[in-house]
Symmetry: C2
DNA sequence: TATTGTTATACTCTATAACTATA
DNA sequence: TATAGTTATAGAGTATAACAATA
């Protein structure tokens, strides 16, 4: 079967498996992968703007609006006006946002530990390394 | 950055990079990844039914209809009635389908060789091996 | 002129539910 | 009853194009 030797096919299948398990662990009302990623950037990056965030996530600004709306609706961040440039909205995490991020990160770690239990520490590090090499190529 | 050590995040980013390059190589009227995968199974598996194919691709039967419609519309396969069980349609590749498959496979190989040029043969084999380990876990 | 955030819109991929015809 | 193929429908996720406010 020619597909078995294709990286793209195996990458997609593996990605779908991780994603399904992620959603099962996070639950119906949990943060989706992209919203969790966005929250991570907001919590870890001071003075992040929406355009910055879209660039880092590799999506369009227009697509980010709904993500930021959701995080704001959950009370996890605030859009803060920036006096120096009145076009931009800085994204500032709330205390609830930081707590939700930490709780979610713990769940994500548990999920990855479980779904990747057949990979030992060396294999997991190898996999991360190889995936990052692909990322470096494509950007 | 917590995301950098997450397999799921890096898996998705790498997958998006491969997918974008795939589409660039195959062109606007080329076979999409899922249609190419379906055609591969049809060409390589005699007497394949739609339910079989959906199961192997990991999607629902309902979602497969449009894929088979497209391949039939391109003249790459025929839905063949099976006398033994008149519920099923066997999927039989045409000569044009086999030729299109072979041409597409060549393009896909070129695409993967190019986008993965920073990985040597050993790394690529490692990556395939690790991705398959994840697939085995999740099925 | 260019950029930020935003809205409107459309497209792809996928799932669920219900139908029909067969078994 | 159960299965194969099908249709209708809806929900993510994402992209493009255009707009107002601001630089």
């Amino acid at each position: 079967m020619a597909l078995e030797s294709l990286v793209g096919y195996n990458l997609k299948r593996a990605y779908v498996i991780l994603q399904n398990d992620y959603r099962a662990v996070m639950g119906d009302h949990g943060l989706s992968p992209r919203v969790f990623s966005a929250l991570t950037f907001v919590v870890e990056t001071p003075n992040l703007t929406q355009s910055d965030l879209a660039r880092r996530l590799g999506i369009e600004r227009s697509g980010l609006v709904a993500i930021v709306d959701e995080l704001e609706g959950r009370g996890y961040l605030c859009r803060v006006a920036v006096p120096q440039d009145r076009r931009v909205q800085a994204l500032s995490p709330t205390d609830a946002g930081v707590q939700a991020y930490e709780a979610a990160l713990k769940l994500v770690h548990d999920h990855e530990d479980r779904i990747l239990h057949t990979l030992d520490a060396v294999e997991r590090a190898q996999l991360l390394h190889l995936l990052k090499k692909i990322r470096e190529t494509g950007e």
